[in-house]
């Protein structure tokens, strides 16, 4: 299945939007470096629409108590309800439980259009 979501320029770097792929609600994210990723628009926890959340960063794991380092800015999709986080550049893996991940879809840019495939 193939679906044209929008023009490439309709999603600015660091932004996302909801769409559908056939009957499947999806969220299309664009990272700050301009890459596109698409996932099922449904949180694995209680089903919130992820497109209502934010794209943000993460705090780097550390051995030093009190040490904060901000990484992956714009690459973490955070749920609008209980704030579970998914790493969009890493296959939609849930940060807290890496054995869980969002269903992901292939995205291609064709003639400046964002096209999602299943």
């Amino acid at each position: 299945m193939r679906e044209v979501v929008c023009e490439k320029e309709d999603i600015h770097p660091g932004k996302m939007r909801s769409a559908t792929l056939g009957k499947i609600p999806i969220v299309v994210c664009r990272t700050k470096d301009g890459e596109f990723y698409a996932f099922a628009n449904r949180c694995l926890h209680q089903g919130a629409p992820l497109s209502e959340g934010i794209l943000c960063g993460d705090t780097k794991r550390t051995d030093i108590h009190g040490n904060y380092e901000y990484i992956k800015d714009g690459e973490i999709l955070r749920c609008p309800w209980h704030a579970l986080e998914y790493d969009i550049k890493n296959d939609g893996v849930m940060l807290a439980e890496p054995d869980k991940k969002l269903r992901s879809f292939q995205v291609a840019i064709e003639d400046d259009q964002v096209v999602v495939y299943k």
């Binding site: 209680q46 089903g47 919130a48 959340g53 609008p80």
Partner: protein, 360 residues
């Protein structure tokens, strides 16, 4: 699409309507009004954390269509919650905190704010949607004034509980007994919703994750305090609803209290039954914020509580830790689901209408 549970009858025991100071002004007389309008008074906010979630304490998608704070728009709340999820009733639990720790010593202002809040709630929410029922807000640091407020609005047909603020004095203290007397008189339940700060010792923990994890400890303290101080022996008609502490701590509390009672009951001769019996009869616990539980795990807690009547469903809409009626609980047997999603709450709030044809 993942399978979604079929919609069911829901009595939601925790919905937050939110007031702004400008909404409250018409319900305040001077001099109180002037402190807000002319002196720009704002209630001190206590929580020392930056909420590490998407939209502070709220669900990010609950911001109102015109960009207002979540919970301020009845129409939007009806659409996003009551209509969408098929609510039969919702109990409003507010967002005002007139506790001493919020108000320092200015109890007079706390009393005036609580009254204004009640009037605002009745006019703008309770009388505009037949599904919504309300909570009497009181400034409990002045029990006599609090009783006066309960007398003033407690007989409103849509007020079903009194929200008692949590503070340094625990709820079993005879200081609060006039409030319980008034609750019984008006057929109102007592609701505990965690206010700030719920930690008695050591003040605030260092991180929000600690505070949020330990919410049930505040609930455990109040339940044990009320039972051991004989509140339910003295007020046999009193219903207590513990809101937003979850329920998985309850089996431990019941077992522990029973064991203590066997060993130390001579210290509290006014308590005449096993604490677990008293809790089973008088206290109800809301689900939210519920842990992810399998059906087996969920049923183990219910079995250890020795009753299917003690758990009531709550969403905590529109807050970030909202629980979805369709997704938050595992699938349970039909009869138990009926109790948790509606009938236990119907029994816990005697003023809620009973289903047609039932005998109370």
């Amino acid at each position: 699409m993942p399978k979604r549970r079929k919609q069911r009858r829901i009595i939601d025991t925790d919905i937050h309507e939110r007031v702004t100071y400008s909404d409250l002004l018409p319900y305040l007389d001077n001099p109180w009004r002037r402190y807000i309008e002319d002196n720009h008074w704002v209630q001190e906010k206590h929580m020392p954390y930056t909420q590490p979630t998407v939209a502070g304490v709220d669900r990010a998608d609950a911001v109102t269509p015109d960009g207002g704070a979540a919970g301020t728009d009845l129409g939007f709340m009806q659409k996003q919650l009551l209509d969408a999820e098929g609510h039969e009733y919702g109990i409003l639990s507010g967002a005002l905190d007139p506790s001493p720790s919020s108000m320092h010593g200015w109890y007079e202002m706390a009393t005036a704010l609580a009254s204004a809040y009640n009037d605002w709630q009745i006019e703008n929410w309770l009388e505009k949607d037949s599904r919504l029922y309300g909570s009497v807000h009181i400034a409990a640091q002045e029990p006599q004034q609090a009783v006066r407020e309960i007398e003033r609005v407690g007989s409103h047909p849509k007020m079903v509980q009194i929200l008692l603020p949590i503070d340094t004095r625990s709820w079993g203290d005879p200081y609060y007994h006039p409030i319980y007397e008034a609750a019984e008189r008006h057929n109102l339940s007592i609701g505990m919703h965690h206010n700030e700060p719920p930690t008695h010792f050591g003040g605030w923990p260092r991180y929000f994750i600690e505070w949020h994890t330990m919410l049930p400890t505040a609930h455990m303290i109040q339940v044990s305090n009320m039972v051991f101080n004989g509140v339910f022996d003295k007020f046999p008609g009193l219903h207590l609803i513990m809101i937003e502490g979850g329920f998985t701590h309850v089996p431990h509390l019941m077992k522990k209290m029973d064991q203590q009672y066997k060993e130390l009951r001579h210290e509290i001769p006014w308590v005449k039954r096993m604490p677990s019996r008293i809790i089973q009869e008088h206290v109800r616990f809301t689900t939210q914020p519920v842990e992810e539980l399998s059906q087996k795990e969920f049923m183990q807690f219910v079995d250890q509580m020795g009753s299917e009547d003690m758990i009531c469903f709550a969403t905590d809409y529109p807050h970030w830790d909202y629980d979805s009626p369709l997704e938050a609980l595992p699938k349970l047997d039909e009869a138990l689901e009926e109790k948790i999603y509606s009938e236990n709450a119907r029994a816990a709030y005697p003023k809620l209408p009973q289903p047609a044809g039932s005998v109370k």
